[in-house]
Point group: C2
Amino acid sequence: MNYFSSNFKLGILGGGQLGKMLLHDTRKFDIQTYVLDPSEEAPCKIACNQFFQGDLMDFETVYKFGKKVDILTFEIELVNLDALTQLEEEGVPVYPSPKTLKLIQNKGIQKDFYTQHNIPTAPYQRFENLENLKSAINSQQSTLQLPFVWKCTEFGYDGNGVKVVRKVADLDELPNVECIAEAMIPFKNELAVIVCRNPSGEIKTYPVVEMEFHPEANQVEYVICPARIDEEVAQKARAIALNVSQQFHHVGLLAVEMFQTENDEILVNEVAPRPHNSGHYSIEASYTSQFENHLRAILDLPLGNTDSKVAGIMVNLVGEENFSGNVIYKNIEKILDWDGVTPHIYGKKQTRPFRKMGHVTIANEDVNKARKIAEQVKNTIRVISK
Amino acid sequence: MNYFSSNFKLGILGGGQLGKMLLHDTRKFDIQTYVLDPSEEAPCKIACNQFFQGDLMDFETVYKFGKKVDILTFEIELVNLDALTQLEEEGVPVYPSPKTLKLIQNKGIQKDFYTQHNIPTAPYQRFENLENLKSAINSQQSTLQLPFVWKCTEFGYDGNGVKVVRKVADLDELPNVECIAEAMIPFKNELAVIVCRNPSGEIKTYPVVEMEFHPEANQVEYVICPARIDEEVAQKARAIALNVSQQFHHVGLLAVEMFQTENDEILVNEVAPRPHNSGHYSIEASYTSQFENHLRAILDLPLGNTDSKVAGIMVNLVGEENFSGNVIYKNIEKILDWDGVTPHIYGKKQTRPFRKMGHVTIANEDVNKARKIAEQVKNTIRVISK
């Protein structure tokens, strides 16, 4: 199959920042792209060859879009699964496969999958709704212990749909939806490994990264590559991530988020079957960025080198609290003056508290120097409104 | 001035591959772009915010386009100078300035400029046309010695408009246009240094690169960064390039091509006031690519780090002889399998002998390993037609 400067068409479901960064590589390879997104102002609207506005959860919209392209992928999991399944049955290659997506979209099913495949993960119990969870707590036989982490099984993202339940009364603030109750595991670090796999089965892992979270918003604030952990722990994390990808028969990128416990156990938290925030550093720091490797993988081309040229740290640019409206990036000229600093502005016109508006990468030979500059960047740039 | 996700508009004259690669960075910063190019199929047509089709040498077309934007730049020198001058007089910032472009567009004027500013360059004589050159040779007082290099003063590119004259009869094949006769200097290496300067006067040079040329087509085949030369020679070359940029009061990128003579003298050959083929390696190998730095410079933002993360070698992908028509990139899957190899396909549908269709970057910690892989790439990939 000839993808380059040809009539081949790649379809992308979702037109946000992940798609926008992916489009850079489709342009670099001159591969034609069609993008479907509900928003008139989607960051992908330019740079793709054809943009279609429509609902990603609507069967007809997704199905008809899929029929126009030669291979279909997505930059967001919240897409109509039945349409993807139908398209795959009718011979349109969909990567990652809807079979894989089905196992991931629902956190309860995802956790069961880990248990069935002996992949280490925190103990949990599944509940059809909040009522069942409440009665379980009140029942004599309950093995459920407070505090625990409540997670709704679907449609959660960026920390939405996750709450720590310390006392029974906390449950009253929660929606009555399908959920899991997960044991609270004290951990040293949150880590992530991005795995890349093509249909021929070639598979590579990126180095382990360390994630620092914003205390309130529960959003990643810094992603640090390489993670400042023992080589032994790093190897264990990469091996587990590799295993997860293989068990899922996953094609494309799989971001595996993990906890490093106090006694250096690795527990899989959750996965994302697409380019991931924890891999943005790779644009500047890796020989092959996660986006180029996603493209190589779904086109069944040889995978690129996942090693790093230099250390990379990513700082998320999220909308500042108490600001909503037309965005301005205050002090961006200041941060541009520092070594190895590259901002990525996603192109959203409106800012809102904690909305992901962009990110900044700091590339440096020395990860500790990079970390210092990252802190300066974080404390200097402000995402506010006019 | 707020450039990011704002109403600010950057105008780019020329919509070829240089513009296309520049657009990646305008997208990364979410800066609005308008592009003018004569071709319906210009590589820049997607990824810019608005594309205008028109003649870059036509005063009205360029003037009207310039009136639509806040800052104007170009990716090709063959643009209507009077329109740029008019626009600048009317307050539209044009970078590089038409005053600079005027000194560069004509190779005779460019050579005189070097002489006037004590910038080392090969001895030359200017002639209004071929007839004057012929009579000069035949005159008794002639100081002109064969062999010499004939160069037409305008509209030459990629080795067009350059011929070595070994005997008087060779002149008969040449057009009767304004030209220079330049002494043939035996040299060890052709080198280039890209200089970046913003209106505030901040100025940086990229490392010295080494250029290997295709014997017949006189097009660059490999660009090697860092050049494999003595540090002392490298420092001399960077200092001369810096001086050239300052003498021109140049804003944006200036690529300075130089000869390293047998006795390690540095002679300036010619300059290009824009992103340059000799800087494409910087996308993968430098902390800040030449394109991002061009953008930073013309917007008077702080310049990015021009140092390299790793060694980078660029291989030009030019159309193979005896092939014309719809392009295919034969064996591209093979080269993707090698370490640190990234193809850039410009998106031209039709190939022609020696037409620039793309380039491949090889990034590696070791420049000699990179050079070996570059040779393999060169001998493996074929730009042919169906």
